[in-house]
Structure formats: structure tokens, C-alpha cells
């Protein structure tokens, strides 16, 4: 770069300082303050800015805005779908729990019903058995009473007969009625 400038300076010298602007720039020390370059810089700057503005506003920015809004939309949609699915899952869970509770209640009901039925059957059977038992008992009692009555009768008969025999054996005679009465009295005790 330095050699270039030296070359340019030499050229200027050769031209006899024809290009005053360049010389002025070098003597001023700051090329930025050389007014000769201003129109050129400003012209090309404006061209560059307009070109850049057109590129950005026509192509780049709408495109990027489109991409960003599309992504935003997609993410929002996906989130909504996820929320939807989550709600559905919760619903399914609730339905499952409900079904489970229903089944459990049904099972309990069936068990209770069955138990009640069995209990009723059992009660009936017990009642029947009780009735049968008491009937049997009554019959037995009656039979026992009959047996006891017949036994007493037999004893009396035997006692009467024995008494009559005894009386006869002792050589006395007695009336049957008297003997029966005596036996009757004795048995009464």
C-alpha cells in the first residue's frame, strides 16, 4: 500500500500537481476530510443503500418473516394438538377409572345378592329343619307318653293279677273289684 501511494505521489509530481485533490488529501493527512472524494462516496453510498434496501425489503425480510411466522404457527399448532391429546388421555383415564369403579360396584352387588340369597335359603332350610325337629320331638313325646301310659296300665294289670294270685295263694278269696281298688290305692301311693 505504501509503495502504491509513493507511486501515486510520484505520478502526481510527474503530472506537475495536476490532481490537486490527491495532493491536498495527502498533505491534510486524513483522506476522510478530502472534499474531492465526497461526491463519489455519497453517490455510491446512496446506490448501495438503495440496492440493499430493495434486496432486504423485497426478498430477505418478507422471507424471514414468513419463516418465523410459519414456525410460530407450527409450534402453536403442535402445542394445541399436544394439549388436545393430553385432554383425551385424561378423558380415557377417567373413563377407565369409571369403568373400574362400576365393575367393582357390580361385583360387590353380585356378591351381596348371592350372600343374601344363600342366607335366605339357609334360613328357610333351618326353619324347615326346626319345624321337622319339633314335629319329631312332639311325636316322640307322644309315643313316650303312650308307652309310659301303657306301662302303667301293664303294671296295674300285672299288680292286680299278682295281687289276686297272692290273695288266692294265701287262701282267701277276694273280689276282683276290691283287689283292683286296693291296687289302685297302692299305686297312687
Amino acid at each position: 500500500m505504501a509503495t502504491e501511494t509513493h507511486g501515486a505521489a510520484a505520478l502526481d509530481a510527474a503530472h506537475g500537481g495536476a490532481d490537486m485533490a490527491s495532493v491536498a488529501a495527502e498533505s491534510a493527512g486524513m483522506p476522510q476530510l478530502d472534499p474531492a472524494v465526497f461526491p463519489n462516496l455519497i453517490f455510491w453510498l446512496i446506490v448501495a443503500l438503495i440496492a440493499l434496501y430493495l434486496i432486504l425489503s423485497r426478498v430477505a425480510l418478507p422471507r424471514i418473516a414468513g419463516i418465523l411466522s410459519e414456525r410460530h404457527g407450527t409450534i402453536a399448532n403442535d402445542l394445541a394438538a399436544a394439549e388436545d391429546l393430553k385432554a383425551k388421555a385424561a378423558e380415557a383415564d377417567a373413563a377407565y377409572n369409571q369403568a373400574l369403579a362400576d365393575a367393582r360396584a357390580e361385583a360387590q352387588k353380585i356378591a351381596a345378592d348371592t350372600r343374601a340369597e344363600i342366607q335366605a335359603d339357609l334360613d328357610e332350610a333351618i326353619a324347615q329343619a326346626d319345624a321337622e325337629i319339633s314335629e319329631r320331638a312332639a311325636q316322640s313325646e307322644k309315643a313316650i307318653a303312650e308307652i309310659r301310659a301303657s306301662a302303667v296300665e301293664s303294671v296295674r294289670e300285672v299288680a292286680t293279677a299278682t295281687a289276686a294270685e297272692l290273695v288266692a295263694a294265701l287262701g282267701a278269696s277276694a273280689d276282683d273289684a276290691v283287689i283292683a281298688k286296693a291296687v289302685e290305692d297302692r299305686m297312687k301311693g
Binding site: A48, L52, V59
Partner: protein, 251 residues
């Protein structure tokens, strides 16, 4: 500066400002306002770089972005959010305009860091036009959108009445100084950094100090990479701040 350097020593020669000389690219010394110069070349390269950065990687419009597309989206969102944060939603109308300024400055600054490159933004003529464009746009926009209410910008209603005329003068001066500070801040930063690198590079000619000089070049270069972005950012955010004044002139 350059002349001082020329006279300094016989063997040692500094030309830190030569990098800023505008010269025709097709040879010759004389040029008029339309001659393609190295400035033209580097502005064109800048535009191509913007196309390569923002247009080409987004061609596929991928839902899941590629690396290039991510960078393009990042640049877009960066400026978009800056405008929205500073000026509010109604400033977004001027997004392409501000994006153009930002991309032009940031690309020029970074391309200028390439050795032997020319930095358009190191010229106050360039930054001056950029700043004046902002200043004029904002001023015209302020009057078109708000009418005479725009003058309320200079009349600080929240200050005590006695202070207001004085504040109005200060506000008025600061308003008209804006294009100067706006342009000189950017141009000066770019010029100074590049010149300092060249001065350090010049010292590298002396064998004794060349390691220090080269380390200095590396360090300043790192700093300049930062400055290249920060100055573009500062220019853009100040543009947003000025735009906010035009949109909402009340303090």
C-alpha cells in the same frame, strides 16, 4: 499525522491513513462522482455479503433452520426486537429502513477488518450521509405525524416553568448536534481503530519491538472486532431512539 510519520525516520515509514484513500479501481488518479472506486467495490462486496447472509441461506425456508438460516433469523430478530423494545409496535413500520442501515454498517465494519480492505464506514462522508438521512427522516416524520406537537420535544413540561426556556435551548442544541455525534462516533471509531492497527503494524518493522507490536496488533484486532459490532449496534439503537422521539415526542 501521515506527514509527521513521514518525517520521523529514514528507515521507518508509517502510513496509517493510506488505507482510507479513495482511489479508482480501474487505474488512473482522476475520478469524478460516478467513477467506480475501492469504496464502490467494498460496498458491492458488502451487499453481496448481505445477500449471502440473509437471502441465500433462507432459500429453503426450512422449518428447522440450518446454521446459515439461524444466523439470518438471528439478525432479523435482533433488529426487530430492538425496534420493538425501543420504539414500540408502531416503529416496526420502519423496520426495513433500520435493518438496511444496520446491515450496511455491520457488514462494512466487519469486511473492513479484512487486511487490505477498504472500510466505507470509516469515512465521515459516508457516516454523515447515514446520520443526516436518519436526522432528516426523523425530523420530517416527527412533524408529519405530530404536527406542531413535535416541538413539545423541546419543551420539557415536567420541569419547573422558569427552567423550561433554558432546557428548550439545551434540547434544541442537543437535537441539532445529533447527526454530528451520530456520524462522528461511528466514523471516528472505525478510523481510529484501523489507524492504530496500522501504527502497531508499522512498529513491527523494528525487530526489537516487533513481538510487542504484533501482540498489540492482535489485541487491537480483537478489540476492533468487538467495536465493529458495538458501533453498528449503537448507531442502530440511536436511530431507534431518535425514531421514538418522532413517534412519541412527549417526554
Amino acid at each position: 499525522m501521515a506527514t509527521d510519520a513521514h518525517t520521523e525516520g529514514s528507515g521507518l515509514s508509517f502510513h496509517p491513513m493510506d488505507q482510507f484513500i479513495v482511489k479508482p479501481i480501474f487505474g488512473g488518479d482522476e475520478f469524478s462522482w460516478y467513477t467506480p472506486t475501492n469504496a464502490t467495490l467494498w460496498m458491492a462486496i458488502g451487499i453481496l455479503a448481505v445477500v449471502a447472509l440473509l437471502v441465500l441461506p433462507t432459500a429453503r425456508r426450512a422449518l428447522v433452520p440450518t446454521r446459515g438460516q439461524s444466523i439470518a433469523e438471528l439478525a432479523y430478530v435482533f433488529v426487530h426486537k430492538m425496534i420493538e423494545d425501543v420504539t414500540g409496535k408502531d416503529g416496526l413500520k420502519y423496520f426495513p429502513y433500520i435493518m438496511t442501515l444496520f446491515m450496511f454498517i455491520v457488514i462494512s465494519n466487519f469486511l473492513g477488518l479484512i487486511p487490505m480492505a477498504f472500510t466505507p464506514t470509516s469515512h465521515v462522508a459516508v457516516t454523515g450521509v447515514l446520520a443526516l438521512a436518519v436526522f432528516l427522516t426523523v425530523t420530517v416524520l416527527g412533524f408529519v405525524l405530530n404536527g406542531t406537537k413535535f416541538l413539545g420535544l423541546f419543551w420539557v413540561a415536567s420541569a419547573p416553568l422558569a427552567l423550561r426556556p433554558i432546557l428548550a435551548i439545551i434540547e434544541l442544541i442537543s437535537y441539532f448536534v445529533r447527526p454530528i455525534t451520530h456520524s462522528v462516533r461511528l466514523g471516528g471509531n472505525m478510523m481510529a481503530g484501523h489507524a492504530v492497527i496500522k501504527v502497531f503494524a508499522g512498529f513491527a518493522q523494528v525487530a526489537a519491538v516487533s513481538p510487542i507490536a504484533i501482540a498489540g496488533v492482535v489485541a487491537i484486532y480483537g478489540l476492533e472486532v468487538m467495536v465493529a459490532f458495538i458501533q453498528a449496534y449503537v448507531f442502530t439503537i440511536l436511530t431507534c431512539v431518535y425514531l421514538k422521539d418522532a413517534l412519541h415526542p412527549s417526554h
